[in-house]
């Protein structure tokens, strides 16, 4: 048994942790744990007929496992926003969900073209969505803020011209 994948990084440097959740994370990272279920979905560029299906399936699975309905909605919204971001803003990518006893770790990795200014992208209302994306009702400028407000720990790494990695942790209780 090895520690959960999220624990391999230096906690405070890597994760942007919601105040009050530090101890829960420390406790979780100190335990030996392997993901009980791992799910992977490919996210093609601009495929708005299918975008969101990965998040739906993860939510349905967690619902069957008995996760509380408000926690389920937080997980689904954070996941859906990140999935839509990959479809709307990247040339394609994938999402990987690692489900543990007491939390979920979801990673979104795309093939670029990256976020030039992450701090700016976190400002509610700021959007670089194109006309096609806006026609679907996306582009409110709340994607990353909605991920942040619903997750317990968040990591984003990206720069212009590079792939983007967005990953978050949400505890079930």
């Amino acid at each position: 048994m090895q520690a959960c994948e999220a624990a391999k990084y230096n906690m405070a440097d890597y994760w942007n942790i919601v105040p009050g959740m530090e101890n829960a994370l420390k406790e979780c990272f100190s335990r030996a744990a392997e993901a009980e279920v791992t799910l992977e979905f490919v996210i093609p560029e601009k495929d708005f007929n299918n975008a969101g299906k990965g998040s739906s399936e993860v939510k349905n699975l967690l619902k069957r496992l008995g996760v509380d309905s408000e926690v389920l909605r937080r997980i689904a919204v954070a996941s859906y926003e990140a999935e839509i971001n990959v479809a709307a803003h990247s040339i394609g990518g994938k999402m990987t969900s690692l489900i543990y006893d007491d939390m979920i770790h979801i990673k979104f990795e795309d093939s670029g073209p990256g976020i030039g200014d992450i701090a700016q992208a976190m400002v509610p209302g700021y959007s670089t969505a194109d006309d096609l994306v806006r026609e679907f009702g996306f582009g409110a400028g709340l994607g990353l803020p909605n991920i942040q407000r619903n997750s317990d720990a968040l990591h984003i790494s990206s720069e212009a011209g590079e792939p983007t990695l967005v990953e978050f942790l949400i505890f079930f209780a």
Partner: protein, 115 residues
């Protein structure tokens, strides 16, 4: 307030005839932007919107929507109606605007969804 009373108040039409419209509706949210709608994680809600694409029905997989009311006389395509049917989600259309629909429901005592 029941969904049936809301439909009468907005002079609205139910697009999936099988849907249960006798359910109780405690609150509502209105927006044409998907990420705005996704702020409703605290409780199940009625949604009023002008968006008619498949993603608006997919939202009900993420947050708990009691029903969707399309405003300004909008009607989704048949595949979107079918998606709603698969989910048992009542979808409704009214000729009224988003502002007027929301105002009438608010005056009738329907509160805002907690966000």
């Amino acid at each position: 307030m029941t969904l049936r009373e809301i439909i009468a108040l907005l002079d609205a039409e139910v697009l999936n005839a099988e849907a249960d419209i006798d359910c109780n509706v405690p609150c509502a949210f209105a927006s044409d932007l998907i990420s705005d709608i996704l702020m409703c994680t605290k409780e199940p809600t009625l949604l009023l919107t002008g968006l008619t694409n498949n993603q608006v029905v997919r939202l009900s997989d993420m947050i708990d929507l009691i029903a969707i009311i399309f405003v300004r006389g909008k009607r989704p395509l048949q595949d979107v109606i079918e998606m709603a049917e698969e989910r048992g989600l009542p979808i409704i259309t009214t000729k009224m605007t988003l502002y007027r629909s929301s105002g009438l429901l608010f005056n009738a005592g329907l509160r805002s969804c907690k966000i």
